[in-house]
C-alpha cells in the first residue's frame, strides 16, 4: 500500500501479545517459531499480512502472529481466504489448518482454492489425528487406527494429501516436517514466493493423541535413510552416503534402489514442472513408515485467480467505460410519461 521500503523486523515483531495455548510439546510450537522467525526475511509488512484459519488446534495459529488474522469456522478458511485474496490482491494471505479441517469438513473448499489457483499460502499441519476434539481418527489416519470413535480399528482409506493437491491442479505442492526448521523455512520461503495457491503439507507431531506418528521418518537418526529430499534438476537420491536413489522402471513405476546396483546415470532427475512425476513421487509412500519424499513436488506458473478477476474488471472498465448508474437504470426499453 505504501512505496517506502519495508521496515526491518525481528521475530518478536511478528509475535502477538497472546500466549500460545497448545499442549506442552506440541509440534505446533515449532512451526509457529519457524514462521515467526521466517517472516522478517520475506520482505513483507505486518499490516499487509493476514492469517486465516478454520477450526482445530492448528487453527489457533493466527492469534499468535502479530499480523491481521481471522479465526473462522471449521473447514471454511480456504473459501473465506479466497474472498479476501480476490478482493484484496495487495494482501499477503496465509491459510493455516490441520488434516481434519482441510481434508474432511473443508475438503471441497481446499480443492477449489487449489484448482482456481487463488494466491494463498496454505499450510496444512498433518498429524493424522483429530486433536481439538480429543483423538478421533482423521482423513489421513492409517487403516486400522484404533481411536475413541474406532475401537475396532478405522476402516477408512486415508488421503494422500500430496496426490490430492496435484490431482486438484495445484501449481505448488510441497511437504516438510516440524523437526527440521531449516527445511521448513526453505519450503515456506518458496511457497510464499509462489504466485497462486501454494500447498504445503507439514508433518506435525501430536504428542497427546498420536505421539511419534512420524518419528520413524523424521527423527534425526532416521532422516537420512527415510526422507527422500527433492531438488529440482537433481538426481533423486538419499541415505547416509547418498547410497540410495529413485529410478523409473521399465513398467514406468518408480522404485527405490541402491545406486550401486543401477549406476548414477540411471537415477531419476527431479522436474518440478512434471505433474506425472510429481504424482508418482507422492505415491512412493503414504508415510510414515517407508522412505518418503519431502520438498517441492510441483511448482509451475499459471495465472493466479485474483489477477484474472482484477484484469477482467479492469478490461470491462476500459471497454465499457466506468460504470454509469444513470445509464444502467435507463438501459432497458424505456418510455416517457408527460
Amino acid at each position: 500500500m505504501t512505496d517506502t521500503a519495508v521496515p526491518e523486523t525481528t521475530r518478536k515483531d511478528w509475535s502477538s501479545d497472546q500466549e500460545p495455548r497448545w499442549c506442552p510439546g506440541c509440534g505446533d510450537y515449532t512451526i509457529l517459531a519457524a514462521v515467526q522467525s521466517l517472516m522478517p526475511n520475506l520482505g513483507v509488512r505486518r499490516e499487509e499480512t493476514v492469517f486465516v484459519s478454520g477450526i482445530g488446534c492448528a487453527a489457533r495459529f493466527p492469534y499468535y502472529m502479530d499480523t491481521y488474522g481471522v479465526h473462522t469456522i471449521h473447514g471454511r478458511a480456504p473459501a473465506i481466504a479466497t474472498g479476501l485474496a480476490v478482493a484484496r490482491p495487495d494482501l499477503d494471505v496465509w491459510v493455516v489448518g490441520g488434516d481434519g479441517d482441510m481434508l474432511s469438513i473443508g475438503g471441497n473448499h481446499l480443492l477449489h482454492a487449489l484448482r482456481r489457483n487463488v494466491d494463498l499460502t496454505i499450510l496444512m499441519f498433518n498429524n493424522q489425528i483429530y486433536g481439538l476434539t480429543k483423538g478421533q481418527y482423521s482423513p489421513t489416519s492409517e487403516v486400522g487406527k484404533v481411536t475413541k470413535s474406532t475401537p475396532f480399528g478405522s476402516l477408512d482409506h486415508p488421503f494422500n494429501p500430496i496426490s490430492l493437491a496435484i490431482g486438484a491442479e495445484a501449481t505448488f505442492v510441497a511437504r516438510t516436517h516440524d523437526m527440521d526448521r531449516n527445511h521448513m523455512q526453505d519450503v515456506l520461503t518458496r511457497a510464499h514466493a509462489h504466485e497462486g495457491a501454494a500447498f504445503v503439507e507439514i508433518y506435525q507431531n501430536c504428542n497427546v493423541f498420536n505421539d511419534g506418528a512420524f518419528a520413524q521418518i523424521t527423527a534425526k537418526t532416521n532422516r537420512s535413510s527415510m526422507l527422500i529430499p527433492l531438488e529440482h534438476g537433481e538426481p533423486i537420491r538419499f541415505g547416509e552416503e547418498n547410497e540410495r536413489g529413485v529410478v523409473m522402471g521399465p513398467d514406468s513405476a518408480l522404485r527405490i534402489v541402491d545406486v550401486s546396483d543401477v549406476g548414477e546415470d540411471a537415477l531419476l532427475v527431479h522436474d518440478e514442472t512434471d505433474a506425472g512425476l510429481a504424482f508418482q513421487l507422492s505415491r512412493l509412500s503414504h508415510g510414515p513408515t517407508e522412505p518418503t519424499a519431502i520438498g517441492v513436488f510441483r511448482s509451475i506458473e499459471r495465472d493466479d485467480y485474483g489477477s484474472g478477476v482484477s484484469r477482467q474488471v479492469a478490461a470491462a472498465g476500459e471497454q465499457k467505460g466506468p460504470g454509469d448508474l444513470r445509464a444502467l437504470l435507463h438501459s432497458g426499453a424505456t418510455w416517457t410519461v408527460d
Binding site: 499487509e48 473459501a79 444502467l328 416517457t336 410519461v337
Partner: protein, 625 residues
C-alpha cells in the same frame, strides 16, 4: 371488463385485461408473454406479470408436466396484482388447455392452436376425447386457429424447413394477440431484428410468423372486434419495466456506489435467485467482482472474506442455500462485519417447489442459527421496490456492521412492473469509514486499538481492514472480550456481549421508517398486516372490501427485524388483525409473541401468489366472524 360505447366500432376500449399464454415448455411462452408485456409497457399501461414454468429443464413434450405459462395483467389504471382469473387463455396444445382451463371463469376467451389437437397430443395430455368437440368448453368463447400450419405456410417462401418454421408459432400467437389488443408492432419487430441478428433465417421466420398472426386477426373475421387498453395515468417521468431480480441487482450496484465500496458477490446458482448473479456478472465495469463458488457455504464465505477486506460483501441464494450458509452467518454476527444475504424464497422444505413462490423463510431468517444470533431482516414488496430494499439492506449492514437478510421471493424475482426510474441524485448517501488510527489510550498513555469498542449510538464496532498500519489485530468466532476482542470465556462477558449484540439489532428500530397505515386508518374494523410480495394482492383485497363499505386498514412491513418502533401501537389499535402470508403463519407468530395480539393467519401455500379476490373473501370472513 367495462366498455365504453362511444369509440370506433371496430375497437372496444376496456379498462384492463388478463391474458395467459400457455404451451409446452419448448414453445417459447415466457418469451411471448414477455414481449407482449414490453409492448404494453411501451404503450403506457400499468401491468403486473406472473411467469410460471416447470422445474424440469424439459419435461416430456406435450404433457401437463411440461406446461409453461405466462400471465400478464394490463390496465389503464394503477394495479398491483397479476389478476385473479384470466380473461383470455392462449393454449398452444391440449396439455396447456387441460392444465389451465380450470383457471378460467365462464365467459373467458380461449384461443387454441387447433393443429396441435391431434390424437397423439390429446393422449399425451391425458384426454380421452377432443375437448374442442362436444360440451367441454361451452362456457367459453373458443377461437380455433391453425397456428402451426399457418406459420409453416408463412415461412415457406423463406425456404425455412417446415420443422424449423413450426418453432416460430409462438410469434404467430403473439402477432394475433397483438392485433386483438392493438399493441404496437414495431417494438416487437425491432426486438426480433436485434435478438436474432446473427441468425437471419430465424429472424425472418419469426417476423413472418408474427406478421402472419397479425394479418390473420385482421382478415379471418373470426373476431368481432379488437380491444384497446389505454395508458394508465402515471406520474410524469421516464419509466422502464423491471423484474425483481434485475431490480435487486441494480439496487446492489447503486448501493455499492452510495457506500463507495466495490461490490463482491459470492454465490452458488439456485433457482430462482440465479438471475441476480447473472445480472451482476454483466456489470464488471462498475467494479463488481462475482465469484461462482463451489457451494453455498463457499459463496457466503468468500463474501465474508471480501467484507473483512473492506468490500461490500453480498451473497444471493434461495431457502435451501440459506440452510447451508447459516454457520457463516453466525460467524459474521460474531465478527460484526457487514454482509448482505439475499434469500429469493421458493416453495420448501428441501427442494420443494423450486420454480414456485413461497414466503416460508421468515422464521429461518429470524431464528435459523445456533445460539443467540439476531440480525436485521428487510423484505421487498414489489418487483421494482427490490431496488430500494437492496439499498436499505446495504445501509443497515454497513452502518451496524452486521449481516442483514433481504427477503424477496419467486413472484417478485420473475414478475415485472413499470418503474418510474429514480433520479440517481435523490438516492440516499450512505457514509461509511474504516478506522485508520488507534481508537483508545492504554494505561501508560500510549495509543491502542480496541477492535470491539462500540459507537455509543449505533453500538457498531469499527470496521478495520487489513493493510492499515498499526491496527493489526485478530478476530474470530470464539467469544470475544468487549473492547479488546481477545478470546474470552468469562461468563459475565458472554452474557454482556450477547445482550449488546441483541441491543445493537434492536436499536435499529429507531433508524427505520415508521410503519404506515393505509385505508380506513381511524375507524377500521380490521387491520391487515402484510409483508413481502403479498402487498399487491392485499391492496386489491382491501380496496374491494372498502368498495363494499367495510372498514379495513392495511399496514405493510418492510423491516421484519426489528419491527418498526410504532408497530405495537398500530396492531393493538384495531379490533381485528389478520395476516395473509404464503406460509402457515410465520409473521402471525412473531406478532403474537411480540405484541400479545390476537393476530389471525390467512395462509396460502400452493406455490402461487394470493389473488385479490381470494383475500377479499378471506377478509370478509374475518370481518363477519
Amino acid at each position: 371488463m367495462s366498455t365504453t360505447a362511444d369509440q370506433a366500432p371496430a375497437t372496444e376500449h376496456i379498462d384492463r385485461v388478463i391474458i395467459r399464454f400457455a404451451g409446452d415448455s419448448g414453445d417459447g411462452m415466457q418469451l411471448t408473454g414477455d414481449r407482449f408485456t414490453s409492448a404494453s409497457a411501451l404503450l403506457g399501461n400499468d401491468l403486473v406479470t406472473l411467469p410460471e414454468y416447470p422445474a424440469e429443464i424439459r419435461a416430456p413434450a406435450g404433457t401437463v408436466a411440461g406446461v409453461s405459462a405466462f400471465q400478464v395483467h394490463i390496465s389503464d389504471h394503477d394495479i398491483t396484482t397479476h389478476g385473479d382469473t384470466p380473461d383470455v387463455l392462449v393454449a398452444m396444445n391440449p396439455a396447456a388447455l387441460l392444465s389451465e382451463v380450470g383457471k378460467l371463469e365462464p365467459g373467458a376467451s380461449l384461443i387454441v392452436n387447433i393443429d396441435a389437437f391431434d390424437e397423439r397430443n390429446l393422449t399425451k395430455a391425458g384426454y380421452d376425447h377432443n375437448p374442442l368437440e362436444g360440451d367441454d368448453l361451452l362456457a367459453f368463447t373458443v377461437f380455433e386457429v391453425p397456428m402451426t400450419s399457418l406459420t409453416r405456410q408463412a415461412c415457406e417462401p423463406l425456404g425455412v424447413k417446415p420443422r424449423d418454421a413450426e418453432r416460430s408459432k409462438n410469434f404467430f400467437a403473439l402477432g394475433l394477440i397483438s392485433w386483438m389488443y392493438t399493441r404496437p408492432e414495431q417494438p416487437t419487430l425491432d426486438w426480433i431484428a436485434t435478438k436474432f441478428a446473427s441468425k437471419p433465417q430465424v429472424r425472418d421466420a419469426n417476423v413472418a410468423a408474427f406478421n402472419a398472426g397479425h394479418a390473420f386477426g385482421e382478415t379471418a373475421e373470426l373476431f368481432g372486434h379488437r380491444y384497446a387498453v389505454d395508458p394508465a395515468p402515471q406520474a410524469p417521468g421516464e419509466y422502464t419495466s423491471v423484474n425483481g431480480n434485475t431490480a435487486t441487482a441494480w439496487g446492489l450496484i447503486a448501493a455499492s456506489q452510495l457506500v463507495k465500496l466495490p461490490l463482491f458477490l459470492g454465490s452458488y446458482p439456485i433457482t430462482p435467485a440465479s438471475d441476480i448473479l447473472h445480472e451482476l456478472s454483466k456489470h464488471k465495469n462498475f467494479g463488481v467482482r462475482t465469484l461462482q463458488a463451489e457451494d453455498e457455504i463457499a459463496g457466503i464465505g468468500a463474501a465474508l472474506g471480501a467484507a473483512y477486506g473492506g468490500h461490500l460483501g453480498i451473497t444471493t441464494t434461495s431457502g435451501p442455500g440459506v440452510a447451508l450458509k447459516s454457520e457463516t452467518l453466525g460467524l459474521a454476527i460474531s465478527l460484526e462485519l457487514p454482509l448482505v444475504i439475499i434469500d429469493v424464497q421458493r416453495g420448501g422444505p428441501s427442494t420443494g417447489l423450486p420454480t414456485k413462490t413461497e414466503q416460508a423463510d421468515l422464521l429461518l431468517a429470524m431464528f435459523g442459527r445456533h445460539g443467540e444470533s439476531p440480525l436485521p431482516i428487510v423484505a421487498a414488496f414489489s418487483p421494482a421496490q427490490c431496488f430500494h430494499a437492496a439499498i436499505e439492506a446495504v445501509r443497515l449492514a454497513v452502518t451496524y456492521r452486521t449481516p442483514v437478510f433481504l427477503l424477496t421471493d419467486g413472484y417478485l424475482a420473475n414478475g415485472s412492473e413499470p418503474w418510474l426510474i429514480p433520479d440517481v441524485d435523490d438516492l440516499p448517501d450512505i457514509p461509511v469509514a474504516f478506522l485508520t488510527e488507534p481508537n483508545a489510550t492504554a494505561a501508560d498513555g500510549s495509543p491502542m486499538l480496541l477492535p470491539y469498542q462500540r459507537d455509543p449510538e449505533t453500538l457498531a464496532r469499527p470496521w478495520i481492514i487489513p493493510g492499515t498500519p498499526g491496527l493489526e489485530h485478530r478476530i474470530g468466532g470464539i467469544e470475544k472480550a468487549e473492547g479488546t476482542g481477545n478470546i474470552s470465556y468469562d461468563p459475565e462477558n458472554h452474557e454482556h456481549m450477547t445482550r449488546v449484540r441483541a441491543a445493537k439489532v434492536a436499536g435499529i428500530a429507531d433508524d427505520i421508517p415508521a410503519a404506515e397505515v393505509t385505508g380506513d386508518v381511524d375507524d377500521a374494523e380490521l387491520l391487515v398486516v402484510g409483508w413481502g410480495s403479498t402487498w399487491g394482492a392485499i391492496n386489491g383485497g382491501v380496496d374491494r372490501c372498502r368498495a363494499r363499505g367495510r372498514k379495513v386498514a392495511h399496514v405493510h412491513i418492510t423491516h421484519l427485524n426489528p419491527f418498526p418502533a410504532n408497530l405495537g401501537e398500530i396492531v393493538r389499535r384495531y379490533p381485528k388483525v389478520a395476516v395473509p402470508e404464503m406460509n402457515l403463519g410465520q409473521l402471525t407468530l412473531l406478532l403474537r409473541a411480540e405484541y400479545l395480539v390476537d393476530a389471525r393467519p390467512i395462509s396460502k401455500v400452493k406455490g402461487l401468489p394470493f389473488t385479490a379476490g381470494e383475500l377479499e373473501a378471506a377478509f370478509l370472513e374475518v370481518l363477519d366472524d
